[in-house]
């Protein structure tokens, strides 16, 4: 048992936590994006609220929500720890580096991109999650479900908010562009035949998902 405990405190163990929570968060993004995409198909919001209602009342989903929050928190805390430890591994910095010659800027900036995403998440969660879970949504829709869609419409009337969301999704795209394939590498899933496929899927995912997310506020702002 000691071996398992100390595994997570080792450099590889820390990577493992980042990779596992990262993949978990990616799977969440997929579900989140799928459900939110209802906004594109129904501008009355009934369909969207139906989905939101299901998510809010299904006990498996509610249980997973706790796991999700824990995963997110772990990802953030571990990410921050890693960033500080890694900075400490080079106490005297180079006067001049040419990182672009050997790696991508976003691969080197996961901490920064992550921090931007964290700031966004605080805003985002307080706008929707806190409202729906704790403070409560005042209105209901035609089906009698809480009208989360209405909250969205109000929020995205504000152009600055729309811009903030779009920029956050740009950060997410770059975060994923590195994180997706990186998680597989960390898990040890590097294979001459499959790695190129994973990388291609990773690029696709990193572009499509944030693009869809970014389209939502724009869509609503434009009243489409």
């Amino acid at each position: 048992m000691g071996s398992i405990a100390n595994a997570f405190s080792s450099s590889i163990g820390k990577k493992l936590i980042m990779g596992l929570t990262g993949l978990f968060l990616i799977s969440f993004l997929l579900v989140h994006c799928f459900l939110n995409a209802f906004v594109f198909f129904d501008n009355t919001g009934v369909l969207f609220n139906e989905g939101a209602h299901f998510m809010a009342t299904n006990w498996i989903i509610r249980a997973m929500e706790v796991v999700l929050m824990a995963g997110l928190l772990l990802h953030i805390v571990q990410g921050a720890r890693l960033t500080f430890q890694n900075q400490a591994a080079r106490p005297v910095k180079y006067a001049y580096t040419n990182g672009n010659a050997n790696s991508k800027w976003y691969s080197r900036s996961m901490g920064l991109l992550g921090t931007l995403l964290l700031i966004f998440l605080i805003v985002h969660l307080s706008q929707f999650w806190v409202v729906s879970r704790f403070t409560g949504i005042p209105t209901v829709d035609a089906n009698g479900h809480e009208d989360l869609y209405a909250v969205m419409k109000v929020t995205f009337k504000d152009l600055y908010m729309v811009i903030l969301y779009v920029l956050a999704m740009v950060s997410l795209a770059y975060h994923l562009l590195h994180g997706f394939a990186s998680a597989f590498q960390t898990m040890g899933w590097n294979h001459k035949k499959y790695t190129p496929i994973i990388k291609a899927i990773g690029v696709g995912f990193s572009i499509i998902i944030p693009l869809l997310f970014a389209a939502m506020p724009v869509w609503i702002y434009l009243g489409l």
């Binding site: 595994a7 400490a88 591994a89 580096t97 040419n98 010659a101 050997n102 590498q185 040890g188």
Partner: protein
């Protein structure tokens, strides 16, 4: 003694010893031939400094043919300079232009303290190997070499991992000063060979533990190490090490 016509400005890190603060100092060299190696250009500069009564610049170098792994300069923001797949001693001045300014710094990492100027202490690597980078076979205990056929592809992969020269460019270029490429190359070499199997899981645990104890950073898969490695050691090795590590920690019943 010089035969060429290149004039260069050098910005070089000077540091008297480990405790000294150190700073960048500017130097000029002239009549540099494009056929010189980068280290031979340093020879010219040092010859000049000695004649003038100044302290020559200390830098590590030995074989000057790209195999001993001793030379270690961070040139214009990259380990071993602008050319791919070469060491500093194999970098020739034809890779630069007349009038260039070249910034030269030592490898920088907590685990590689500066000894003097551009010379650093890389003994952390030796300690990682001593922790498990071997097969425990005493002299005289070996069976006939051909009693153990090894598929060529596997032997070739092991060789590719074993080609590491231990120069530390991977650590130097990694934004986290991580040593995972170096450590994984040795682990991979031995994990790929049948001889390495008995100690496979013990080895990966011990070597990773030592690597962590030395104060190297954590890998974040930027891929810079692979891109800068003069011997083209692949990131696949890191993935293999990770796999072996998980197997060792979560599957194997042996305690590490």
């Amino acid at each position: 003694m010089s035969t060429g016509n290149m004039n260069l400005t050098l910005k070089i890190w000077r540091q008297k010893n480990t405790k000294d603060q150190g700073k960048m100092v500017d130097y000029k060299v002239s009549e540099i031939s494009p056929d010189m190696s980068f280290l031979e250009m340093f020879d010219v500069l040092n010859e000049d400094l000695i004649t003038k009564g100044d302290d020559p610049i200390a830098f590590d170098h030995d074989c000057r043919e790209g195999i001993c792994g001793m030379c270690s300069m961070f040139i214009n923001g990259r380990p071993h300079g602008p050319k791919d797949a070469v060491t500093t001693c194999q970098l020739h001045m034809r890779s630069f232009k007349d009038g260039d300014t070249i910034v030269v710094e030592p490898w920088r990492a907590k685990a590689f303290p500066v000894v003097k100027d551009l010379t650093v202490d890389r003994s952390a690597f030796d300690r990682v190997i001593a922790a498990g980078g071997f097969i425990s076979v005493n002299t005289g205990n070996a069976q006939d070499a051909n009693n153990l056929p090894i598929p060529k592809a596997q032997a070739d992969s092991a060789f590719e991992a074993a080609a590491c020269i231990g120069c530390g460019a991977c650590v130097a270029t990694c934004k986290n000063a991580s040593a995972m490429l170096f450590v994984s190359a040795k682990i991979s070499q031995l994990a790929l060979l049948p001889q390495g199997q008995p100690e496979r899981y013990k080895r990966v645990q011990n070597m990773v533990a030592q690597m962590d104890a030395e104060g190297f950073g954590n890998c974040t898969n930027t891929g810079a190490c692979e891109a800068e490695c003069p011997k083209g050691i692949s990131l696949e090795n890191i993935a293999r090490m990770n796999r072996d590590y998980y197997s060792a920690k979560f599957v194997s019943e042996e305690e590490g």
